[in-house]
Amino acid sequence: MTLSDPRRLHDLLGLPVVTVDGRTLGHVNDVRLAPGPALHGLRSELLVDGLVVADRHAGSLLGYDRRAEKGPWLVRVAVRFLHRRGGYAPWSAVHSVEWGDGGHVVLAIDRLDDRDATLT
């Protein structure tokens, strides 16, 4: 299978996420990966499943935006405060991606799935 030129994850993280009619929904905060079906009877590959979108990046690596029950209370409240809006956009809903500085991700949908931001 032929692939495009290699890209870097860093060039996707932080890109603005917009709808087709130009409304900003947030920024790419993380990229959710899912192992695909096993290849050559060996190991599976890692496919991009969708984008975790939020209005701000600060504190996201702490993981509080993606787990409901995680403690301690003090830190959870503080970090959640930084991440009020957010949601999930499955890769199938991505219309196009302009990579790198000044780029953006255009979604074919006009609402994020806000239930699915937490991890299963």
Partner: protein, 134 residues
Amino acid sequence: MMGEYVAGRRYDAALHLLDRQIVDPDGRLVAKVDELELADRPDGRLVVTALLTGPGALGPRVGGRIGHWIVAIWRRLRIEPDPMPGRIDVADVVSIDSAVHVGRRRRALEVDGLERWMHYNVVSRIPGAGHDPE
């Protein structure tokens, strides 16, 4: 700890993969996942193709003047005119838990140039370098 990815499990790249320690089959520490390499498939899916390691991959993520320095120092230390960061094909990844486990030994992965330079030029020259710790 070896085995496939946990079935049905999904991984958030920045949360579960980036900056995680890469460990070889002997339990030796290889490098950090400093960056992920992605590529578009013809069917429109985006896939992870490799883990990138070393200052050349880390510098741009640190950003700013410090990130710039990290890359500049790394380039100066390398012999090649246009050095590439260390690259571990995603097919070598065996499992992901609190570390990223790969199926090949760190020597075979060839991502630790500085380690080998220090090994041959500094540490091996000090008596006792091969001394067993136990």
